[in-house]
Amino acid sequence: MITFEHVSITYPDARRPVLDDVSFEIAEGDLCLVIGATGSGKSTLLGAINGLVPHFTGGTLSGRVVVDGRDTARFRPRELADVVGYVGQDPLRGFVTDVVEDEIAYGMEQLGIAPAAMRKRVEETLDLMGIADLRSRPLVELSGGQQQRVAIAAVLAARPEVLVLDEPTSALDPTAAQDVLSAITTLVHEVALTVVLAEHRLERVMHAADTIAWITPAGTVDLGLPADVLARSTITPPLAALARELGWDRVPLSVREARRRVLADDIRPPVVAEPAPVHGEPVLVASGIDVRYGDLVAVRSVDLELRAGEVTTLLGRNGCGKSSLLWALQGALTHAGEVRVDGRDPAGLPAAQARRLVTLVPQTAADLLYAPSVGEECELADRESAAAPGTTAGLLRRLGVDVEPSRDPRDLSEGQRLALVLAIQLSAEPPVLLLDEPTRGLDYSAKADLTAIVRELAAAGMAVLISTHDVEFAAGVGRRTLLMADGELIAEGTTLDLLASSVAYAPQLAKVFAPSPVLTAADLAGVSR
């Protein structure tokens, strides 16, 4: 269905090609999962399938990409719209109309499908994706998972042969991700669609994949059966880490497979010692935090304590008020209730002083960057924090990022940009650090780096609160976990207690070894066989 023949793609001003002499074939009806490190060219590969690369993005493509017999060199993306359906990373940004039903019809209108046929297909597509009840809703009012499903429905209505999805579940909470994925697998099984899907969070999708295409650091593509490719690749989802830890030759693709192997081999995990509770002083004490938008209550009387030297994770559905709570704690959002850090409330202080008490790295971290180069950004941060010149640059190096000061922050990889923002925010030397959804767009090794950084900061006496959807990250990073639902804190406890017993938030290894409490592969060191 999709054939790449000796494809190399080079962007202007790039020293080396993103993809280098790549040849592979994706068979009809397969679900192919594209994996690779951050910035390795997953989006480029996906874009090449419908011709957005290079027709739209620029750059040069040598070799041939043929989709359903059409060469993308001669067919522009719009002429491939009836063959390839493409859903980008942020579906909201790709929406053309205002309302769900119109959005689904848009592609068909462009293809010139007769109104009568169009109405039938809109109904079928709404049912297929299970969004019939959303039909007349404005797109901006939908939740993330709903938007993703509408975006998929909107390209499906044009009846493409191939569906290309760029990180469809990254921004979603585990339950919404499950919804989207089950919709995709339905399409593969029932409609015989060929699906090509890029994703960082492999644990969410790899059990459904027929093949995996790994973009190697050298820019080549290694395509094969999932278990084989995962055994070779440097991308290690939790189950691959488990296989490595236990010396298995084959990577289990699902929790079920791993669990059977564990039972067959009679592996008993060691009793994980509860990490010693932190006895630090409470640095941040919040009481009765309320956030309202008009008549809508986003955060409802939340009481919260953060201790020095402790990493706390905050979990909850999309839109349960996690971000609002973080912004309120920093004092940047109007709220009721009281926050005390060092005897003062950051909400009442000027911005420059507030961030010396509590600092926040927001979800869209890049919003904090506006200087033209990394060097200027660092100098600016030194001045803002009244720190000695070179402080921020030094922090950035300590965070493991060593880039030329002349680089434009917009050209950095996702992980490097996050590190830069973190360095800027840490230059104020605050006792409390808040991170909002920091792992979006990060691969496993970048997440491991982040985990190490956060632990190091905590060891140095900082109190850290991280809101995230990424349960695997949450399982590894902190000892204490808060669960939030509908604006309220509903549970608080050790990460081990809360996550291992949860249905929605259990990490994969907890499911494999249940009822033994295991969260990460690191917990298995010295396993008895």
């Binding site: 419908n50 957005l52 027709h55 739209f56 522009r76 993306p77 719009r78 002429e79 719209a81 009836d82 390839v84 493409y86 980008g88 942020d90 790709g94 929406f95 205002d98 039903e101 019809a105 848009y106 068909m108 209108e109 462009q110 010139g112 009568a116 109405r119 007349s136 809703r137 404005p138 901006v140 009012e141 939908l142 909107a154 390209v155 938008y293 008009g294 809508l296 986003a298 999309n318 839109g319 971000s323 609002s324 912004w327 940047a332 109007t334 000027p350 911005a351 420059a352 507030a354 961030r355 010396r356 927001p362 904090l368 506006y370 600016l380 941060a381 803002e384 800027i424 925010q425 509908d486």
Partner: protein
């Protein structure tokens, strides 16, 4: 096969009908300074919007237009008080006057404030404010995007350009708010040109990113696929038609060849319509659920047109040329109540008819409100903390 459209009970009014109604009333408002009529029209307008708007984000924009209207009146009053102006004799109070140097002769700061001057300013500002309100009402009742969906296929690209342009303003505001909030996190509260430049750059970069994503989305979904048919003769036909219509217009206004002029104009308009149709065949675009234009639409649009005709028609008459009986019946001067000498404005039957025309859509249409479960809304408002996100919504 013709697919029957949604049943009447569910169908909302054709967006162009709402725009026609609102613009007609806006033009009517432009033709009067009678404050009683203006206030009644404004109240009726708001009533119609409240009862007939849908539950979509753009339907909430009317408040922003009300604020804007109040602002217009406030500004006019402020400058009237500040700069004064010696109209009329009924002195209300006197502000301290600031003597200005000789080169600013003719400009006066402070001084006597008269009832006549205030009345004149308020009447005039009210007219502008109510016109703004008309645009706001149209916006709330039918989003401009929906209205543009109904333009002829030949103008399709132009309408898309307008739609994209319309989405830029709210996006800029949203990006601006986000980046402004982010700046607070950095502790950067510096003001002045430098920081303004920095923000502007970031906001623009963000807006361009978004526009590129939108463009990529449209491209990937087949926007501007042409059927490949070369349409012959559309351009010459349209050029000739426009030329004919223009000549007709000139003859009509400047000469006595009325019949020839009318014939040329009719031929021009018909030719343009035909040309648009032919050019439209170039695009294979079809329309999902096209809004049919039915009797309701005609009636609602007609209300706007009739209101305009009544106000402009009667208000434009010269009472001296009418017979005394006719002048008494039509009463054109009531549309422009005198402010010097000050006289209490009068309402007459014609004005009440205009107000009735403004209110007419209420019995003619059905409510566009749908119940949306609160839980569904909650998710969005909370997803990103937007302390003042309403503004971005309101501008849509």
């Amino acid at each position: 096969m013709v697919v029957p459209e949604r049943t009447d009970a569910l169908r909302t009014l054709h967006p162009l009908a709402w725009w026609c109604w609102a613009i007609g009333i806006g033009l009517a408002v432009n033709g009067t300074t009678n404050p009683l009529l203006l206030i009644l029209v404004a109240l009726s307008m708001v009533t119609v919007v409240m009862l007939r708007r849908s539950d979509s984000p753009w339907a909430r924009s009317v408040r922003a237009y009300l604020v804007l209207a109040a602002f217009v009146i406030g500004m006019r009053l402020f400058f009237q008080l500040l700069l004064g102006g010696g109209r009329g004799e009924t002195v209300l109070f006197t502000l301290p006057s600031v003597p200005l140097p000789a080169w600013a002769a003719g400009i006066q700061l402070g001084g006597v404030v008269t009832a006549e001057a205030i009345a004149y300013t308020v009447y005039d500002a009210l007219r502008l404010a109510v016109m703004l309100l008309c645009i706001g009402a149209a916006n709330a009742l039918a989003s401009p995007r929906q209205a543009l969906r109904s333009v002829p296929a030949a103008l399709y690209e132009a309408s898309v350009a307008v739609v994209v342009a319309l989405s830029v303003a709210p996006q800029l505001i949203e990006s601006g708010q986000r980046i402004h909030r982010a700046r607070r996190l950095r502790g950067d509260s510096s003001r002045g040109l430098r920081s303004l430049g920095r923000i502007a750059l970031a906001v623009l970069a963000d807006a361009i990113d978004r526009s590129m994503s939108l463009a990529a989305g449209m491209e990937a979904r087949g926007f501007a696929r042409t059927r490949g048919l070369h349409v012959r003769g559309a351009l010459p036909l349209m050029l000739a038609s426009v030329l004919s219509a223009t000549t007709g217009g000139y003859l009509m206004l400047a000469t006595d060849y009325r019949w020839l002029a009318a014939a040329l104009m009719v031929a021009g308009v018909a030719g343009t319509g035909l040309g648009l149709r032919r050019a439209g065949a170039r695009l294979a675009v079809t329309s999902y659920r096209p809004h049919p234009w039915q009797w309701r639409e005609t009636l609602v649009a007609g209300c706007g047109v009739v209101a305009m005709l009544v106000v402009l028609g009667i208000g434009g008459l010269d009472p001296d040329q009418l017979g005394p009986a006719l002048a008494a019946v039509l009463d054109p001067l009531a549309f422009f109540p005198s402010t010097n000498p000050l006289a209490w404005p009068q309402l007459n039957g014609w004005m009440l008819a205009v107000v009735a025309l403004v209110l007419a859509p209420i019995p003619l249409t059905r409510t566009g409100l749908q119940r949306i479960p609160d839980a569904a809304r909650t998710d969005v408002a909370v997803r990103s903390p937007r302390p003042r996100g309403r503004l971005a919504e309101a501008v849509r």
